[in-house]
Symmetry: C3
Subunit: 265 residues, 3 copies
């Protein structure tokens, strides 16, 4: 199997996909800016009447439940449904899945009724979602189960979509192909919203390249290699976030192919 | 005709106008901080009962429809009306005008019922608003029509207010006087919310100086010259935004008069 | 009396308390990030059904009325009540108290019905709240009354909680012990949301150490000494905010004890 993330990044920059976000108000600015730095064009709107006009013409739709409420959950269903019938890929980030019963039930509703093309969370969220266990405290969670990959793979197979978990090691599976990725730095967990930002970058990559294990893996790789560059010019979480933006914006596609750490499982 | 933007900036810093924003949740933090860096004092509130107390005593009101919904649109009408009857200048930034029918109709409602003193958008938004054509994709838009200035001038003349468009070349007209401005850097389009931030700076300048072609042009000039300074200490969009704040905060008024690139049309 | 803020900071980092915020959308990202930099774990949610699950298991709850509306005020009451009965400390930041009648009445409602363990505002807000006078313009306010400390002390004594005011000189009282603190830099007032960030840091400190004059004073001290470090690597408000995050994250606990400027009144 071959994996050339450079090609996916080049495509993002050439097609500049419109990434429609319905997302949380905590990290939304970073999501908009990282989308631009990846090469996409962000639009954030959660008002129903806007959503009808935007989701159908977008390159992709990113649904993030970080600060969900009834009004925005309704808009997520609307956007997801409109996108789905227009053939626009939908990415779901179930932030805090397992931390509250409301988040858990909203996530399952979206999965059943919208059927997102990509579901991406951190290891703890995904471990609970795919039935591998794990624990969630607030929106931070950790998953150290060896079972995670097995459960993700079989979940993805039954689900018929792409399942991705982030952490020191990232896993991405569509049930047939499962990749393990090893780029990134620990500092990512000391900045609020790096998971949300990664979902935005995935939105840009699937908007330009379609949703596949390789397009999602390319998004992870670009984001995490940018983080590796950023850590060298950082003095802490504040300057790291600034440098992460700069690094992704300046990332040479060829760097991706030579530096990606991946294997097929 | 004379144009000394330094005097307008000095006035902002001396009077420290309270700039009441009803704005989007994507770029609101940058709007608050750039208002402080310009010399104003920001307050953000969109709750009706707050709005009544704030809009009437503010130096100016900035209405930005970037993430509009019914509740905040109602508050915009309330704030605009209260401000108008108290003689407080109102600035409208019709973010994404033309991208959705809801944004277009909300914009026209505000223009008709509130009659903002200043309407400022990017070239694509303003081109569509004043009838010069152009195209809008999401909240990014581009306008390369030679007709823009003519349409803006005649729209401003009919409207009886100040019409401003941002881009590589900025245009500002009240129907009688029309200015072309040439400061700024391309990097501004790689950061989310620079248009929103400019509207906040305009809010500070009209709050201190009243709404006029020259006060609005001074805000553009201060913001764009700060951007020219920022680009020299930036490695990408992340550090550019940080430096833009620093540069505007440190901007020497005298720099404005010697570096402004402007002409009357 | 002894005051060793280092011990309180060490405790925050070791226990990593979950700090549940119901806060404003202007500064929420900075609040999340500063909580992480202090050593806590932030979660932001204002939806009623989420609040029930989170507030009871959190280390602390921070209520900030910076952009209040009816829905979020209801959630603040719910979160505060749930936290209170679970023994979770509650911090109230009455942003803009006195600037609008709505904020004033919401603040009094929360104080009466939730009875927060800590009420912290800037000097102007607290001066008005405790009856010492002062003035508020928007969310910025100033308080130069010599009466402030006396009024704070007697208010705290009647109230049975901790009252804290920030400014060039900070005051913290529970009615029996009153501290005066002198760390910090003027640049803090040129960045939007430094007051909100301080409330988040207080949330982390009382989450790990319980609510007391000394735990609140330790939060002030850590935040203000980080600001003193940040000013040396800043060129203005933009880079100062970035450096403030870095500095708090990197702060050596032992620095606190040697650099704290405090006295008991």
């Amino acid at each position: 199997m071959e994996f050339r993330p450079s090609e996916y990044l080049i495509n993002v920059r050439q097609t500049r996909p419109l990434v429609h976000h319905i997302t949380n108000y905590v990290t939304v600015n970073d999501c908009a800016n990282i989308t631009l730095c990846a090469g996409g064009s962000p639009i954030m709107t959660d008002e129903g009447r806007d959503v009808l006009d935007i989701a159908s013409v977008a390159g992709s739709v990113v649904l993030n439940i970080g600060t969900l409420n009834e009004r925005t959950v309704d808009s997520m269903h609307l956007a997801g449904t409109v996108a789905h019938s227009a053939g626009v890929p939908v990415v779901l980030d179930p932030v805090g899945y397992g931390a509250t019963s409301y988040r858990t039930s909203v996530t399952h509703d979206i999965i059943e009724r919208v059927h997102p093309d990509v579901i991406k969370g951190n290891g703890g969220e995904m471990g609970m979602l795919v039935g591998a266990g794990g624990e969630v405290e607030g929106v931070d969670s950790h998953m150290e189960s060896d079972d995670l990959v097995d459960h993700m793979t079989s979940y993805a197979s039954r689900y018929g979509g792409i399942i991705a978990s982030s952490g020191r090691i990232d896993y991405i599976s569509d049930g047939r192909v499962t990749l393990e990725l090893g780029n990134g730095v620990d500092m990512l967990s000391s900045v609020s919203g790096t998971g949300c930002m990664l979902s935005s970058v995935i939105g840009a990559f699937v908007g330009a390249n379609g949703a596949s294990v390789l397009s999602v893996a390319s998004a992870f790789t670009a984001f995490n290699i940018a983080a590796e560059d950023a850590i060298h010019v950082s003095d802490g979480p504040g300057s790291f976030k600034v440098a992460l933006m700069d690094s992704l914006y300046r990332l040479e596609p060829s760097e991706l192919d030579s530096r990606v750490r991946w294997c097929e499982i």
